[in-house]
Amino acid sequence: MKRAVFVLSSCICSLLISFVVYSCASAQADPKTHTVEIKDMKFVPESITVNKGDTIIWINRDIMPHDVTEETSKAWTSSVIPAGGSWKMTVTEAADYYCSIHVVMKGKIVLN
């Protein structure tokens, strides 16, 4: 009898632990995809707040080429995004970025 109670308790505990682990994983939320439009020589929105692991897609709506380049150490760059083109990146850290073609165009990635 004691053994049966022990086995049953163990099963319930395992189920509870599984549920808690699953809930925590779900609470971190699935990665999302955000959009930044490049239009009228601006990044719109200029500042975007995302979770680590989310993806940002930049869409060039202007008639001239642009790029998206990390500003401080040029750690990453999209290379040239032609008019009508797009580029996406999975975010691993916050960053200030700019268009290295039109150096006065600036944007910011903020992490939650």
């Binding site: 009228d40 020589m41 202007d62 008639i63 001239m64 073609i101 039109h102 150096v103 006065v104």
Partner: protein, 179 residues
């Protein structure tokens, strides 16, 4: 006293520069038709591409060369859009007093730029880019957009305006760095 002399000297240089690079092609505020506006728009863009060609030939400054490359690519993109639009609208750009004045002023400016070299060239080129973009922005917003009859032509000019403002800000940044 030294500072005063320096100030007088700088003012004389500035005055000489303004005299050489006087941009008054748009000053008379004439009435323009859509084919004439298309001609002015294409001419104004081509002139800045031509200035960039001179810069690429004469400058060794990386920042100036990068700016010139951006001007070449952006103004080519604008001309391509304008050509596509007038082709679609079956409009033939028509030369006029404004586009002719732009060309004659540009020929004079080009000549003055070619006569310079080194840092003096870089400064003259960028100073001209600042002045030229200011003049073109004023003309596009105060003359070409208000007088455009065709909505698509007006839309294209409105779309170009933010690019011109960005070019001006970029030129002013390079101008500051050259000082």
């Amino acid at each position: 006293m030294k500072n005063f002399k320096k100030l007088v000297y700088s003012s004389m240089i500035a005055l000489a520069f303004i005299t050489v690079f006087n941009i008054d092609s748009f000053a008379q505020n004439p009435k323009l038709t859509d084919p004439e506006i298309a001609s002015v728009a294409v001419t104004a863009n081509q002139i800045d591409i031509d200035y960039a060609v001179i810069a690429k030939e004469k400058s060794k400054n990386a920042e100036v060369l990068k700016f010139a490359e951006t001007m070449t690519n952006d103004h080519k993109a604008v001309i391509a859009q304008a050509v596509a639009l007038v082709t679609r609208l079956k409009v033939t750009p028509k030369g006029n007093a404004v586009s002719q004045k732009l060309l004659s002023d540009a020929a004079e400016t080009g000549k003055a730029l070619r006569a310079k070299s080194g840092k003096a060239f870089d400064k003259a080129y960028i100073d001209n880019e600042v002045a030229y973009h200011k003049a073109v922005i004023a003309a596009v917003s105060g003359l070409l957009i208000p007088q455009s009859q065709n909505a698509e032509l007006k839309g294209l000019l409105e779309k170009v305006l933010p690019a011109l403002n960005t070019h001006l800000a970029h030129a002013e940044m390079v101008q500051k760095d050259l000082k």
